[in-house]
Symmetry: C2
Subunit: 408 residues, 2 copies
């Protein structure tokens, strides 16, 4: 019998009507013959409400007692979902993190799942019950309640699916992963199937459907993911399957176009071209916990010197500049410069590395629209271009068309 | 070092300001040198809110998943109280029912505490932390979350106090147990100390400060209880101590006057005077789960027959009448009659059984006010009189004066 984990996020359990709709989706899968387990987030807004209460007493994310308060949100929605399934004539029971043996390590508010004891959940399933796991929570080695950070319920769902050897359906408010953001390009199409690596790149490059942490865990544990809409009719949702590249029939060159606004570029001009210089610079940035993207090193005018350029999120610019200034002497740099008002557009696809002309297509497509490419960075399955912030929409549409992604 | 369990009910943790005030009370006791543990209810209104959510899915008290949802209420207030204590510079940590080893048996929504493993709480106290236990909840033998019914947090507090060999302070919105309801008799006085048995009788006769279940458990486990106000200045509350009769210095005849409105009287007229008749009648009432009070059997006119009369709560009258009619033939009764619009006034005191004139005083005091005594029932430490509903206030004031309870 196929096993299926169905995960419902905050908007999918936002209130009694949404919970009832989600329960009908579960019932439809159970009727089709799947052995189903459910994982739920807190009702939309509830985590923020509880966090505000805790903040009123000096608590906040990263605080042990805040975790205990926040975990109550998923506790309530798990119980309500179990009741809603009961109303449909299904046997169901809620599992809190500690009841499902979800063990965590790491700090409060941002723990990771260290293990999950599938035995209690499996026992319920074998007894014909649908287990409903409260997501986002677990218990650390000292027996304290811990939460998993933003997107934590996806992690709970993937961990449960891995433990049960089940497929993991992530129900959300969109009906799948799109070739690009449909708000920018109406001709964007839903992707039927995509590889873990492409999904990871799309998420890292700005697509918000699935978080990188859960896609990473799914890849590492070999869990087949499906992203689909909880607003669809029961049994009618198609969504996007995220799986091994080898399991995907259609061989596309490019799967999607992602974008991230509000990037900043930092330049260390006239730095030493010895590796120690770059090591000093990026070491300082790592110590300041700044995520660095799109690194380019170019030979500078003076012999033995180089210009090191990289991008960061605009919000990280102040601490990035401070770290870079601090490492200026060690890197032997003449000057630290920066530029804001930038954005990144990326194309992602397993076929990119097989085609020599992908970069040419990108330059041509952006050039035709008079969009300047300030920096370009490539990986096996991704090409990113740094452009002006106000050119994002035009660039996304141009690339979507140029790589043949436009639907009819 | 003295150990103290401090319990705060819903109105005492109704919102951030009340939680902060309660935390200051805890800090004051800790400063005085007590080793303190705290037990909290859900914030006022929260249990009703969660119950309404569960009811929307056909859940209700007595349902397993409703218990899981309801327990979230105490979970949040325990976490917030721990944070509030932290703000005052105290080390504190929350304990959910399962973390404190609160084991239950009995049905969902009305479980009883089968045991409490003090070790985790004691370990925290020894480490200089103030444990904050989420009241009203525990875990059954199957590992399911269970709640203890109305007044359940008092039970959690008494059980914790028993396990810790501590005094149990019940903070509420009144400043102690009164000689009678101050809303009826402004001359009512706070009682400094009262015996478990008197407290039990007062609670059973209608006083609402403390529930009978927690007073019973305190008596059985030898836990010294104190009822006091969470609205008092830190360290200033006096309250009422509930303890062994032998520990009470002042020897009063009567401790208090209680009342219960909306009683009904049922009469089985001309029943057989053989014990089997009464057994058939009261057996039927017990099967219908009707609580029967004030039973009087009098010889009837015809030889070998008796009139059996008893009182029930007005709300139980329909099912009581149905049960009595069903047992009419077995009891050999000629007729089942009933009367509504009745109330019960009771005087409670350890000294009642030592004084021959207590009943005379009652009849005289009520007679002077032209209040008819329809039925009278006595126990070792209580005398109850059934009167008209609309005479309650006059009767309470008359008895309060007649037994010398009026303050200056």
């Amino acid at each position: 019998m196929t096993r299926l984990v169905m995960k419902f996020g905050g908007t999918s359990v936002a209130g009694p009507e949404r919970i009832r709709a989600a329960a009908r989706l579960v019932a439809a899968e159970a009727e089709k013959g799947a052995q189903v387990a459910v994982v739920v987030s807190a009702m939309a807004g509830e985590t923020d409400r509880l966090l505000a209460l805790a903040s009123g007493f000096g608590g906040g994310l990263g605080d042990s007692e805040t975790d205990a308060a926040l975990a109550a949100g998923e506790q309530v929605s798990a119980a309500l979902m179990a009741l809603a399934l009961g109303e449909l004539g299904l046997k169901a029971r809620s599992f809190l993190g500690w009841q499902a043996g979800v063990r965590t390590d790491g700090p409060p508010g941002a723990s990771r799942i260290a293990g999950l004891d599938a035995a209690p959940v499996l026992a319920a399933m074998r007894a014909g019950e649908i287990p409903v796991l409260a997501g986002y929570q677990g218990v650390d080695a000292a027996g304290r309640v811990r939460t998993l950070g933003r997107g934590g319920t996806d992690l709970s769902a993937v961990a449960l699916a891995a433990a049960l050897d089940a497929q993991c359906d992530i129900y959300t408010d969109v009906d799948g992963v799109y070739t690009t953001d449909p708000r920018i390009e109406p001709r964007a199409r839903r992707i039927d199937a995509i590889s873990y690596d492409e999904m990871l790149e799309l998420a890292a490059q700005g697509a918000k459907v699935l978080q990188t942490r859960s896609a990473e865990m799914a890849k590492a544990r070999g869990v087949k993911l499906r992203v689909l809409s909880s607003f669809a009719e029961p049994g009618k949702a198609e969504g996007t399957m995220v799986t091994d590249a080898g399991l995907i029939a259609e061989r596309r060159i490019v799967s999607g176009v992602a974008y991230a606004r509000d990037q900043a570029r930092i330049s260390a001009l006239g730095a030493s071209d010895r590796p120690q210089a770059a090591a000093a610079l990026f070491g300082a940035l790592a110590d300041a916990e700044v995520g660095v993207d799109m690194i380019v090193q170019t030979r500078a005018r003076d012999a033995g010197t180089a210009n090191i350029e990289f991008t960061v999120d605009r919000k990280d610019l102040p601490k990035a500049l401070k770290a870079a200034e601090g490492a200026k002497a060690a890197a032997g740099a003449r000057e630290i410069g920066h530029e804001t008002g930038l954005a990144k557009v990326s194309i992602v696809g397993l076929g990119l590395n097989r085609r020599a002309d992908v970069a040419r297509i990108l330059f041509e497509a952006l050039g035709e629209k008079a969009i300047e490419v300030k920096v370009i960075a490539t990986s096996e399955i991704k090409i990113s271009a740094l452009i002006d912030n106000d050119a994002v929409e035009r660039a996304v549409r141009a690339l979507h068309a140029a790589y043949g992604l436009d639907g009819e």
